[in-house]
Amino acid sequence: MARRTPELGRFTDVALLVLISLAEGQKHGYRMISDIEEFSGTSLEPGTLYGALMRLEERGWIEAVQPAERRKPYRITDGGRDALREQLATLRRIEQAGVRRVAWGTA
């Protein structure tokens, strides 16, 4: 998983999933849980999700949107998008290193 961001602690991985989910558009908590389960297979519980949302909001990586309906949606900010790009680049480097090492092991 991604490099740990000290301020996010054990929520680093969940925060990454939330940022990926919001990168395609604003979502409320219920839709985020469903979306994350769909694209990653990770089933998030509300306590974990909102622990990550609190940290992402505090860092200014996501923000609440004025709700048009009962549920309050969140959207990713420009800073959040930059942070997501950085995290994904780190993941790519890890993935490439892993693939290379697995290839050496089987050679």
Binding site: H28, G29, Y30, I33, E45, P46, G47, T48, L49, Y50, G51, L53, M54, R55, E57, E58, R70, R71, K72
Partner: protein
Amino acid sequence: MRAGVLRAVAGAVLSLYPKAWRERYGEEVADLVTARPVRLRTVADLAAGAGDAWLHRRRIPGARPLRLPLAAVLVAGIYGLWLLWSPGARDLAGLGSVWDEAARAGSLADELSGTATTMFASAGALALLSLAQLGTAVRAAGKHAPLGAAARTTGRRVVVTGLAVVLPIMLVLTMYAGLMLDAGEPLGPLGGAITGGFFVPPLMALILPLPLIAATSPVLSPAARAAGKSLTVAAVLNAIAWLAVAVLVAMGLREASPWFVTSLAAGAVLSVGMAALVARAVLRRAPEDPVMLPERTQLGRAPF
């Protein structure tokens, strides 16, 4: 467990979150709990989330700093100190054996014991002096035109509160004096040296409401600040006295039981913390700037 019960438990767990968190996210999470399946792990996850939210309360958007009421902290401090005093620190056998061991070093033990006793007593005297400073200002308050009426009202509040706390103050002073004069079982030189540390901060805490009330009046505020300075010196003397006690106990440490040392150390921390809290509270409420009275005009002092 039935889903309905788990859902109810999950809803109850939400009330364990900090108020700021509930105001910000409570409705959304309650909605999730209603709309999604609730399992045992959902409840456990919410409980862990509540603990996390309390631990990282400052991260909650819009959260204000957590403030415990000063009065509650000081009342708890007084109870804590006296619980540590008896049966913790007032262990006659422990006091005697630690003193005997410390006294082997010669006159240093006597000097340290005398220093601690004098410092604690001086701290108590300074705390009482702050009362005298306020009393003088309250008596003169009514004569201070054009703010006399308001100052008189505040002065009356100081007097009424003073009457309410005079009995507890007398009680603390009587207990302190009684122990110092060896009424009941003699505490010995070490007991005499530490007693003040357990009674002076409660005395300061009982006096505290008076300068805090006085600080609300511009006329009485300088007197409240003067009282705050006296209480600050009292807090410093209290801390110095505890340093002397610490050296004394270190000298007799070989004979000290872990329970005695723990009680005394916790008592010292609580005593120093309480005294500092009282002094800081007064200095913060009574600002340094003196009251700016209006310029005098030909018609006398201009009204506000």
